[in-house]
């Protein structure tokens, strides 16, 4: 008999009520139950960082949490970063400008991780940024465009550009 629970989760500001099997990861729940396929599952053991989402303000691996553990919590996925009119988040804008992605698989995890990081470190050095994304694997870019984009986004978000 599958072990099924009803959960209430706020995702990108919208309340959802759903029945989930308890062994379902938060990442699978977002993609399969809610259709939010922006969150990418790569390694599914916490190494690649692609599945990172923001839980109650903190960046976490959605493959290393059960959906049932998000009951009563707030989740922000990559779909929730842009503004209400669809205008890109300053970090997304900078990724576009600096070619911070190629295939795009790691991008949702990069963006959610760095949005949480920039909130706590509004004025980071290049080294700080490289350390922050040390848990996000990108096999295309060599990271340079990602670091450049983050440096610029930090300036824009502080109104320094």
């Amino acid at each position: 008999m599958p072990d099924i629970r009803e959960i209430q989760v706020s995702v990108n500001g919208e309340d959802h009520s759903a029945k989930v099997e308890t062994r379902t990861s938060l990442g699978d729940f977002l993609r399969q139950n809610l259709g939010l396929t922006g969150t990418h599952l790569g390694c599914e053991h916490g190494v690649c960082g692609a599945c990172t989402v923001i839980l109650d303000g903190e960046a976490v691996r959605s493959c290393l949490m059960l959906a049932v553990q998000a009951n009563g919590h707030e989740v922000t996925t990559v779909e929730g970063l842009a503004g209400e009119e669809g205008e890109l988040h300053p970090l997304q804008e900078a990724f576009w400008k600096h070619h911070g992605l190629q295939c795009g698989f790691c991008t949702p995890g990069m963006l959610t991780s760095l949005v949480a990081f920039l909130r706590d470190n509004p004025n980071p050095s290049e080294r700080d940024i490289r350390e922050a994304i040390s848990g996000n694997i990108c096999r295309c870019t060599g990271y340079q465009g990602i670091v450049d984009a983050t440096l610029e986004a930090a300036k824009v978000m502080q109104g320094r550009v």
Binding site: T22, S25, D28, R61, C63, L64, L66, V68, G135
Partner: protein, 287 residues
């Protein structure tokens, strides 16, 4: 869905968690999940019951009681790093946690989870060995305290009965002007260390009065370098003295695996003990 089916339990008190452990066979405790979830996803563990501690109250946070730091087992690594008591009384802990995984995993990982998982190269067990921490576990019959030296029973097996729950870690912190150094070597930042070293020093009038050196990763559980600690007492806090400890570290019993030989681990232990003591000594001399 990656894990095999299990029944999920969501207790709200430590007592409820213990009675669930006692009444269900093949149960696993879910703390931060940063080791258990990968093992569930890969089906390395296939428990019938998963008991989630994330809604249990009263087993997280840091308090200071009579020169003892008491840390709830469910205190997350990110909270240890940001905690003012930890930063002022045991600053080696935030320094070491910089090496643990990545900030996203530190947002979930707990000290209790790390101590119960007991990876030989994990940083928190290495630190708790250096502090001679006491671990409080709760079972159906009540609580018992276990000194860290009796905590590891074998490779990744803590001194914990199937119906017991680790609730608290406590240790006596060192004097305000103690020196500390944490050094490790890993192939990539955030990986488990090949060897990690935690060193604590107290110095009076240029001479070492107290030393603790703990080595993780070299053997199946963290090892205290007792011989070197004793040798350092009364000696001048300088690089020649630290060399004595480093030479002893190079002799420690160590393991070989598919990647690294025991000789390599011994060499690393020597180098890292030297570096950690230099750091600790510098910090003592400055204050």
């Amino acid at each position: 869905m990656k894990p095999a089916p299990f029944i999920y339990h969501n207790p709200l008190t430590p007592e409820d968690a213990v009675s669930l452990l006692a009444s269900n066979e093949e149960a696993k405790i879910l703390a931060g999940g940063q080791s258990l979830m990968p093992m569930l996803n890969m089906r390395f563990v296939v428990p019938d019951h998963v008991i989630d501690l994330n809604n249990v109250t009263g087993i997280d946070g840091v308090t200071n009681r009579d020169n003892l730091l008491e840390i709830g087992a469910m205190t997350r690594q990110c909270d240890l790093m940001a905690n003012d008591l930890v930063k002022s009384k045991a600053p080696i802990i935030p320094e070491a946690l910089e090496h643990v995984g990545h900030f996203q995993t530190r947002n979930r990982c707990t000290i209790g989870g790390s101590l119960c998982h007991l990876d030989p190269a994990a940083e928190l067990p290495c630190l708790m060995a250096a502090y001679d921490a006491n671990l409080t576990v709760q079972g159906p019959e009540g609580q018992r305290e276990i000194p860290f030296i009796e905590w590891p029973l074998a490779y990744m097996i803590p001194n914990l009965a199937p119906d017991e729950l680790l609730t608290k870690i406590s240790f006596r912190y060192w004097s305000l002007n103690h020196g500390f150094g944490f050094e490790e070597f890993a192939r990539r930042h955030g990986d488990f260390a090949i060897v990690a070293v935690a060193a604590l020093l107290e110095v009076d009038d240029g001479k070492i009065t107290r030393a603790a050196i703990s080595i993780g990763g070299a053997n199946i559980s963290p090892v205290r370098l007792v011989k070197a600690e004793e040798a350092l007492i009364g000696m001048l806090a300088n690089e020649d003295t630290y060399k004595v400890a480093a030479d002893i570290a190079q002799e420690i019993e160590s393991i070989s695996d598919a990647y690294v030989t025991s000789q390599y681990r011994q060499r690393l232990a020597g180098t890292l003990v030297q570096r950690a003591l230099v750091k600790a000594g510098d910090r003592v001399n400055r204050s």
